[in-house]
């Protein structure tokens, strides 16, 4: 083989890898859209499922997913942003603690999602909820807080998505020019004023990106909520932090594996998958777009 031919061969081989991966993505998304699209209707999005879940709509699952991710966002964004601010604005470059925090954040990102499920059950439901019950109600046979519910599931997901928010926010803080900080400090602002009034407003896009990525990740995760609050079927919408909830991802799992009549459930299944896919993919595309904007700012 001549050297030119080898050159072309390597380019072709690696290009083939790209084509294969993109092709698979296209097949997955295409298949879901093809079968799921005919299912979508206003009624499908706004109705209760029928009792055997082969018909009706998926409104409770959408409602539960939104409630869950909203609660999760309320918990994770302040914590993630505060951690990123501390890492980038307060901890020095040689801070030992900052190195440990960073290592912890990276490790947290790699913890298997099912382990988060065990942690949520062991810590939030049994330990935290159980302790509240012991202190307030004192009747171990009738748990009030010490049982799976939307609050515990949301907090579990908040821990899971914490690294996403921290890493994205820190990147956004890095993109804020030093001059702005120095100008603020030079005008006599305290460090905190500089952070709150100058740095954070300029990092808005990045913080929003982190939030969107966290929501997208949190909305799609099923393993962590298996034991912390997701329900197969509920005849009512959750109205209390302690209620269980239906969830799009969990609904997909239930319809695909535990339905008594898988064939009959298939249309509803495809429809649910499509809704979940549209939700997570559109959030991610939005995040990618936002990020490309402030990355361009960072480069210039």
């Amino acid at each position: 083989m001549t050297r030119t031919a080898r050159d072309r061969a390597l380019a072709a081989a690696t290009g083939l890898c790209v084509a294969l991966v993109l092709g698979m993505l296209l097949v997955v998304v295409g298949e879901i859209v093809r079968h799921g699209w005919p299912q979508l209707s206003w009624a499908f999005l706004t109705d209760q499922p029928t009792a055997d879940m082969t018909g009706g709509g998926i409104f409770p699952a959408i409602y539960g997913t939104v409630a869950l991710t909203l609660l999760m966002t309320v918990a994770v964004v302040p914590m993630g942003v505060a951690t990123a601010v501390w890492l980038h604005e307060y901890a020095g470059r040689s801070s030992r603690l900052a190195a440990v925090v960073r290592a912890a954040v990276h490790n947290l990102a790699g913890v298997p999602s099912i382990v988060f499920g065990l942690f949520g059950l062991g810590f939030f439901v049994l330990f935290l909820g159980g302790s509240i019950d012991d202190l307030v109600y004192g009747d171990p046979t009738r748990p009030v807080w010490g049982k799976p519910g939307v609050l515990w599931a949301a907090l579990t997901l908040a821990v899971l998505t914490l690294p996403v928010v921290i890493v994205t926010t820190e990147e956004a803080l890095r993109a804020v020019p030093r001059d702005l900080r120095e100008a603020a400090l030079g005008l006599g602002a305290t460090r905190l004023q500089t952070v709150v009034r100058v740095v954070l407003p300029n990092a808005r896009a990045g913080i929003l990106t982190g939030l969107i990525l966290a929501v997208s990740r949190g909305a799609g995760e099923v393993a962590p909520i298996l034991f912390t609050g997701a329900a197969n079927f509920l005849p009512y919408l959750p109205s209390d932090l302690r209620d269980m909830f239906m969830h799009l991802g969990y609904h997909v799992f239930v319809l695909a594996t535990q339905s008594p009549n898988v064939e009959a459930a298939r249309p509803a299944l495809y429809g649910t998958v499509l809704v979940l896919l549209v939700l997570t993919l559109s959030l991610n595309v939005a995040a990618v777009w936002l990020r490309s904007r402030y990355r361009a700012a960072l480069r210039s």
């Binding site: 951690t83 099923v222 034991f227 979940l276």
Partner: protein, 357 residues
């Protein structure tokens, strides 16, 4: 705040009083200015206590990630550890049976069996780890070449415009919820693969591995691409100056320089594959068989076992505790893999940036 002067900057940045004395000196020379006034002046350059309080709170919140890691360990262990000292007088549960084969009544030879609902209950974790390893290795065989290939194309061959489309799209693959990939494997992939390859079982290790590799490729790709792109330009230029072709530069200069990064990508991808739950739960068939070298049998992985069985078990039973113990082992394993992967990546970056200057 009082009017700004040239020392405001330093005082605001949290430095204590050293900036103040000269001024203090000036004013005391201007005759009987009360002492208190100079102290008030000094105070005005100090960060207000409310700001300090908020800063303390921010510093405290920064501990969350560390505390979270510690709590995950503690509270998963809390449910598992009593297994080690709780006594099971009826002899139904023995710790050694978790790992060693045992000749159960009705069996001809000692065996490794996971059969938590049988009588007696049999909790041997070996088949589960064999299952996890089988699916993971198969998935890695697919996703490492694909991920590294994509990374090579994007970092070495693609034009800037192509790169800026292809890279985010591959990373978009990582954002597909694993339950969607599991669904795809279960409903679409399993049947078509059975039709093509004639598998005996519709759901098996290979089907799960193919779906799993879709989730792993972006991990391998991202880390590898990062390593390949951080190889300094000077190395490229030196190779080209010596008359090397593009493929020679790529294979003999760039790849060797970035090799630790590729190793890290494999380690991190492996860690992700071991911990993936929904895909294997839905697509692997979930039969705890012990056939380590047959890729066409159904398998039951560690993660799928926890997900499928924990909901059915009462708290405090040996079965409950064994499931948490599985989680603990999984956590320990992925923790070590992530630690190793992260360490390699950081070292590589330091080496490459050092050699660039």
């Amino acid at each position: 705040m009082t009017p700004v002067n040239e020392t405001g900057d330093a005082a605001a940045a949290g430095a204590p009083d050293p900036a103040v004395p000269p001024r203090d000196h000036d004013e005391s020379e201007a005759a009987d200015v009360p002492r208190r006034k100079s102290r008030r002046l000094a105070d005005s350059f100090r960060t207000p206590w409310t700001h300090r309080l908020v800063e303390r709170a921010v510093a405290a919140v920064a501990w969350t990630a560390i505390v979270a890691i510690a709590f995950i360990f503690v509270f998963v262990a809390r449910e598992a550890i009593p297994l080690l000292y709780e006594r099971h007088e009826d002899g139904s549960f023995r710790l050694v049976d978790l790992f060693a084969p045992r000749q159960w009544p009705g069996y001809d030879a000692p065996v490794y069996v996971w059969q938590p609902v049988g009588t007696p209950e049999k909790f041997n974790v070996v088949p589960l780890f064999v299952g996890t390893l089988k699916v993971t290795v198969l998935a890695m065989l697919l996703s490492v070449p694909l991920g590294v290939g994509c990374a090579m194309y994007v970092s070495q061959y693609a034009s800037r415009r192509v790169r800026e489309i292809v890279k985010p799209v591959i990373e978009l693959l990582a954002s597909l919820p694993s339950v969607v990939l599991g669904f795809f494997a279960l409903i679409v992939l399993a049947s078509s693969m059975q039709a093509v390859f004639g598998f005996r079982f519709r759901l098996n290790a290979t089907v799960a591995a193919v779906a799993l590799s879709l989730a792993i490729v972006p991990v391998v790709f991202t880390v590898t691409e990062d390593a390949l792109s951080s190889v300094p330009r000077s190395l490229h230029e030196a190779a080209i100056a010596l008359g090397a072709r593009k493929y020679q530069t790529t294979l003999r200069v760039v790849i060797p320089a970035a090799l630790p990064g590729i190793a890290a990508a494999i380690i991190l991808g492996f860690g992700r594959a071991i911990g993936e739950t929904m895909i294997v739960l839905m697509a692997s068939g979930n039969a705890a068989t012990l056939a380590p070298f047959d890729p066409t049998t159904s398998v039951r992985t560690v993660t799928a076992t926890i997900a499928a069985e924990l909901g059915e078990v009462a708290r405090g039973e040996p079965h409950w505790r064994v499931l948490f113990l599985l989680g603990l082992m999984l956590f320990a394993l992925t923790f070590l893999l992530n630690l190793a992967g992260g360490l390699i990546v950081r070292r590589l970056h330091r080496r490459l940036t050092a050699s660039a200057t």
